[in-house]
Subunit: 124 residues, 2 copies
């Protein structure tokens, strides 16, 4: 069935692993509440997830850059106390992307929930 290749072209294009994009989702979500800078986002993610998820700067910064390049975020450099911060703000495009990713996540999450089980509540 190699002939019904998705994108056409040179071949060999794989779909992103089904569980990926969570870092992106978290970033977009946080930035939907207020504008923040990278280092702050790193700390914030650990905080809001109750230490459950801890993403390093090596994960955050590249994602931030990608999102900006894609037009989902707008960056603004600002100097505070002699330190340069890069603040990110969600654009309309980013908002849409957030909604899409959010939906995808919910689908997956509820799928897994269903598989993991009835959770053995008190039965009727």
């Amino acid at each position: 069935m190699a002939f019904l290749n998705r994108g056409a072209g040179t071949m060999g294009q794989t779909n992103p692993p089904f569980m990926s994009g969570v870092p992106e989702l978290l970033l977009l979500r946080l930035l939907a509440q207020r504008e923040m800078y990278g280092y702050e986002l790193v700390k914030s993610i650990r905080l809001v997830t109750g230490e459950a998820i801890s993403l390093g700067e090596g994960v955050i910064y590249p994602v931030l850059h990608n999102l900006e390049r894609g037009g989902a975020l707008k960056a603004k450099r600002r100097s505070v106390d002699g330190r340069t911060r890069v603040y990110y703000r969600l654009t309309a495009k980013g908002r849409k992307r957030l909604d899409r990713l959010h939906g995808e996540w919910q689908r997956i999450e509820s799928g897994i929930s269903a598989a993991l089980g009835p959770v053995n509540h008190v039965s009727t």
Copy 2:
């Protein structure tokens, strides 16, 4: 800080991506209910997740083999209608692994839930 390398040894050992291991979790969970064979598991995952998650044979079989090698599963070949099936059964070790992965998943899932939002309920 390269000196506080986790396992010691040759260097360069990375942690598994924080969201991985879900295929494994699903397989273990299904096999905790009853013994099944590979091809059946492929279909089953699509079913129980309500089409939300669809893992191909290229994902399932290798994971199955790994789990068996690790002693979490016990395999048994059986011939049905002239077709050879490899049935997998959960071992005690597999049961423990399932519980561990299940716990980890819950931690992560609730972390993400928390981040994604209070869901804007009626506030006090």
